[in-house]
Every structure is written in structure tokens, then in C-alpha cells.
């Protein structure tokens, strides 16, 4: 903008000078076509991001200082968690439960019996304990996210793991080291997408023989999803 204004006045001033016009044409051209992206945004430092960059990786990177106990967790649970997730982590009114179906049974029979919300829990699905801490610290309690301290988040994470029968009541301290080293029951079952897992073809005629088995509406209020 600045350059083109300059050029315009230069051209007006030396309207009979071809050289000035040519130079300005070049300047204009470079401003329009070779402009490198600059002057937009402000640099930011890690120090400015302490309140924002609270993400915790699966391997525990990003877990903060601090710790909690199961006793503290039990108390917080009663006040901030139980109304949705149940006193014993059983889940009420359709909210997620902590202890899902037995891991072995769940996965052996997944296709027939259900990877559904009634069966899903921390014990049979969550791959990494630090992820649980991350979720609780950033998004729980549901009605007041980011209202718990790091210590409180550790305590609640521990209590949720206890309700899911992943740790026992002998555990004394839940902190970064504890979560980083805790082996989650379902972790070894994970693998990354290998789809397409089915293959169809574009049959155009005589695509099947015999009768079709056509089924109409037969179920109601049945969904294997969740929130």
C-alpha cells in the first residue's frame, strides 16, 4: 500500500518520464507478487504460555509437580464427581463409569457383546494413566472445568483408578512418577488404523442370487455410544 501510493505520486510528478514509471511498475509488481509474509502476529515465549500449555502426553511429559492421596480423592469425589459418575464409579444417568466390563471378557466378546457405553471403563479402554490426569485437570468437574488444583487433580485421578480396580488402597501417593510408571490394563491392545478393512466391488448386474433378508425397524433406544 505504501509503495503503490509512492509510485502513484511519482508517476503524477514525472508523467513524461518513462523511466520513473518503469521503476514504479517493478516496485509495485514485487509488492504484489513477491511479498513475503511478515509483520503479522507477535512472538510468544514459553513463559507466556504457562497457563495454556497444560497438555500431558501419554508418556507423562507435561505432568506437573504436586501429588494427592486416595483419602483426598475420596473426599473430592463425593463432592464433585459422584453425582454423575456414582459413589462407586458405577456411572449414573448414563454418565461414564470408571469400572467397565472385565477386560478379558470384554475384549474376547467385543464383537458379540458390546463395545458399548455400559461396558466401557478405564480398566478396559484407557491406554495411559497420564491421559486420565490430563482429562480430569482440563475438563472436570464437568460443570466447573479447570477449577481443581494440580494436587486435587492427582487425588481424583488416583481415586478414579482405584474405583476402576486398577490400583488398590495401599497406594499412598499419586504423583507424576506414579502415573508415568503405572501400567494400564488395556495399553497393550492398541494398534493404529489399518483400514480399508473391507473391499466392495462395483457389480452392476446379477449381483446376487436368491432372496434378500430385509429387516425393518425393530429396536428402539439402543445406542452403543455415549457422550
Amino acid at each position: 500500500m505504501f509503495r503503490s501510493t509512492m509510485c502513484k505520486s511519482a508517476v503524477i510528478r514525472s508523467v513524461f518520464t518513462r523511466a520513473a514509471g518503469a521503476t514504479c511498475a517493478l516496485l509495485l509488481s514485487s509488492a504484489l507478487h513477491a511479498a513475503s509474509l511478515s509483520g503479522i502476529g507477535q512472538p510468544i515465549t514459553d513463559a507466556e504460555l504457562v497457563n495454556w500449555d497444560i497438555s500431558v502426553f501419554y508418556d507423562g511429559e507435561g505432568l506437573p509437580e504436586g501429588s494427592g492421596t486416595l483419602e483426598q480423592g475420596e473426599e473430592i469425589w463425593a463432592g464433585k464427581c459422584a453425582m454423575c459418575h456414582g459413589d462407586f464409579g458405577e456411572g449414573v444417568r448414563g454418565y461414564p463409569k470408571m469400572m467397565g466390563a472385565d477386560l478379558e471378557e470384554f475384549h474376547e466378546t467385543a464383537v458379540d457383546n458390546g463395545f458399548n457405553v455400559e461396558n466401557r471403563g478405564i480398566n478396559n479402554l484407557w491406554a495411559h494413566a497420564p491421559t486420565l490426569f490430563d482429562m480430569i485437570r482440563r475438563a472436570m468437574p464437568y460443570f466447573l472445568p479447570q477449577s481443581m488444583s494440580d494436587d486435587e487433580s492427582y487425588a481424583v485421578t488416583g481415586y478414579a483408578l482405584y474405583l476402576a480396580d486398577i490400583i488398590d488402597d495401599e497406594v499412598e501417593v499419586i504423583d507424576a512418577d506414579f502415573l508415568r510408571n503405572l501400567e494400564m490394563p488395556a495399553a497393550h491392545l492398541y494398534y493404529t488404523d489399518t483400514r480399508p478393512d473391507v473391499s466392495n466391488t462395483r457389480c452392476m448386474a446379477d449381483c446376487f442370487e436368491g432372496e434378500l433378508e430385509v429387516v425393518g425397524k425393530r429396536i428402539e433406544g439402543d445406542f452403543s455410544g455415549s457422550d
Binding site: P43, F106, H128, L189, I219, S224, D227
Partner: protein, 446 residues
Amino acid sequence: MSEDKKDRIDNDQSDAMQRRRFLRQGAAAVGGVVAGASSTSALAAEPLAVPPTNKMMGRPVVATPYGLPSKFEANVLRRNVEWLTPDTTASISFTPLQDLHGIITPAGLHFERYHSGAVDVDPEAHRLVIHGMCERPMQFTMEDLRRMPSHTAVHFLECPANGAMEWRGVQMDSVQFTHGMASCSEFTGVKLTTLMEYCGVSPDSTWFYAEGADGSGLQRSVPLPGAKDQNGQALSEYDQNEIYKDVMVAYAMNGEALRPENGYPVRLVVPGCEANMSIKYLRRLKFTNKPLVTYQETRHYTEVTSDGRIRQYTLVNEANSVITYPCPDKHMGGKGFYEIRGLAWSGRGFIKGVDVSTDGGKTWREAELVQPVMNKCFTRFKIPFDWQGEEHLIMSRAHDDSGYVQPTLKQLRDERGTNTIYHKNSIQTWRIEKSGEVNNVQINNV
């Protein structure tokens, strides 16, 4: 009285009568070709009344400074399913695909999916931060983003749970509820690659994650070239090298600022991928060399497969299609001509073609694709259909430029069982009953 006889009588009448005759003949001609059996209406004796709107003054300009649909379209609404979720702030609403034409979803009808409710983010205070493995970590205001080289593209967004209620059997007798977790919009914003270049993202960065400014602080990891999962398994070539190229940071949708429901003032758009990755209220992108493996990548958006293992990072929405007219929400109106219409889309690229069957999949005809046909975008298809009151099983089958052909429900169930949740992209069958009613059915054995 036959048409001919009536016409002869009319021939002797006044100009006004001749005008009526002309209108009737027009209606009869149209009826003969298009509406078939409904020609009785062409014989109505009464002249058409002058509509009341011809005899009144209308509303002035800016009576509705932001225009709204006609009051007669009040039934065209997003809807939710009450029993689906325990809470409407962590829930989903569905786009009324049955009432839409073309490929663009009006912003007010775009499906909603919240994990902690919609929020009103102040655009003046909002910042987008880009940091992590890059030379120049930066923060951008909304004005900064609008100054940057812009990118506009039309893409669909689809929740991977689209169709999830139908795995075990027919449940939702409505295309709004079987396929309405998908919408398509023109987005404008800044390409991810522009931002990556500007911030000097390291070539060693193999992932980035995006985070939202809502109560759920939603986070998703997105692969870059070289991406491996937490166990060292490489993502597919496609996921590593193609997904990020179309990614954008969007501030506009269908020509105006994003709506709060869709992530105002700025959201990530990851075209072709499960819409959960297109983080709304976007506040941060961090470039890394590993995935976060967030809550949204373990407890949600993973599937137990038939071998008892858990499949993660099923990012791409594979080719899908559905007939939106006729459908359980739009029954037949009488014998004669119909145009079967529908939508097809593929997360891997362009829709190459759509085949339509009206006999349960025994024979198929290739439908016409309505231009424009675009990358990772709704594609409208249509094909003429003469209905003479028989029962029909109608279905559509899309294929894309990767060679993938939309599978049958049986193929998906044989592979994945009936209790999975996500990525149900199988061929949808509607049954046209002899009565003209249209119902959702499933073919279990082919």
C-alpha cells in the same frame, strides 16, 4: 368429462375462460409427464384464487436485518435424540439432510457436537498460538489471521459416529438421524502449511495437536509426514502425507464469520477426517514429534475390533452416500416421475461416481453427478426414476478416486461386528412401500 370434451366446450367461451383452459392444459401436460396419476387436480372446476399476497403490501427492507427462512419452512430444523446422551451440553444434533438441496449446508442447520457446550469467545481477546517444534513461536489475533494469505475451500464435516445407532438393527426411520451428523460448508481461513512456513516448523515435527478454548479444552493430534503412534507403528502413507495438506484454520463459513455453534471465532478444519479433529474455538497448535493420545483418542473414537484389540487413529471418513429423496422423511406423492437424489462424500478425495439400485442391489445404474465435484466435499447425485406403485428397495453406492467402493452393511458387520460405534459408512437401503411410504430397512445377507 374427458379433457377433449371440456376443451371443446371451453373453445367457445370468453377470453377469461380461454385463459383458464390454457392453465388447465399446462397443468395437464405437466401432470402427464411428471405427476402421472394426479391429473384429477387438473380438472378442478373452480378458477385459481388470486393469492392474498397479491392484494397487500409486504414488509419493508430490514424488517429482518438478518434474514430468516420462510415461516412455512419452520419444520426444517436441527434435531437431537433425547435418549442418546445423558446431557445436551455433551451431545449432538443432526442436520435435516432431507430438506437440503445442492451441497451447501446452511450455517444454522450445520450439525452440532459439543463436549462441554457452545461458548461465546470474545474475538478481540482471542489468540491463536503456534508453538512447539518451530523456529518462531507466534501468537495471532483474529485480525492477524485475516491479514494472512487466505484459503477458501468447500468441505464436508462428519462426526465418525454418523450412523452409529444402526449397527445392531434399524432404529431411526429418518435420514436426518441416520446420516445427519454430516454437513458441508465453504470455509475461508489460512492454510496450515502457510502457518507452518511462517512459524518455521521443524521438518522433524511428525505430529501437531490442536486445542480448543471451550470447557472441554478439546485436544486432538494430527499426523504429519513421519508420524508414528505411541507404540512405534507408522501411520499409513496417506495419513502421514496427505491429511495435513488440506488442513486450514478457518474464521469464516458460507461467506460469514463462523457461528458460535461451529467454533467462532476460529476453528481447525481437517478435511476428510472425523470431525472431532476439527477443533472449535481453536486457541493453540503445538508441533511435536509424538501424539498426545488424549481422552478423545482413547476412550472415544477408538474401536474394539474382532480380534479383541483396540483400533486407534481411525482418522479418515471413508466414502459414504445416502439417498435424501425419497427417504423416510419424504414419502412418495403418487405414481410417475421422480428424481432420486442424494449426497456422496469421501474423506480420501473426490467422489468418482455413484451407482443407484432400485431392486435391492441386484442391478445398478450410474447416477449423474451434479457439478461441482470437489475434494473431500459433498457431491450431489441424481437419477430419474419412474414409480408405478410397486415396492422398491432403493440404495446408493459411492466410489472415490482412491478406488474405494462403499461397502455393504453385511461386509462391515462381518468385519467389525455390530457393537462398534464409529465409521459406519455402509450402503443405506430405503424401502418404498406400495402405499408410497418410505422406510428405513437393512439387508442382512448380501
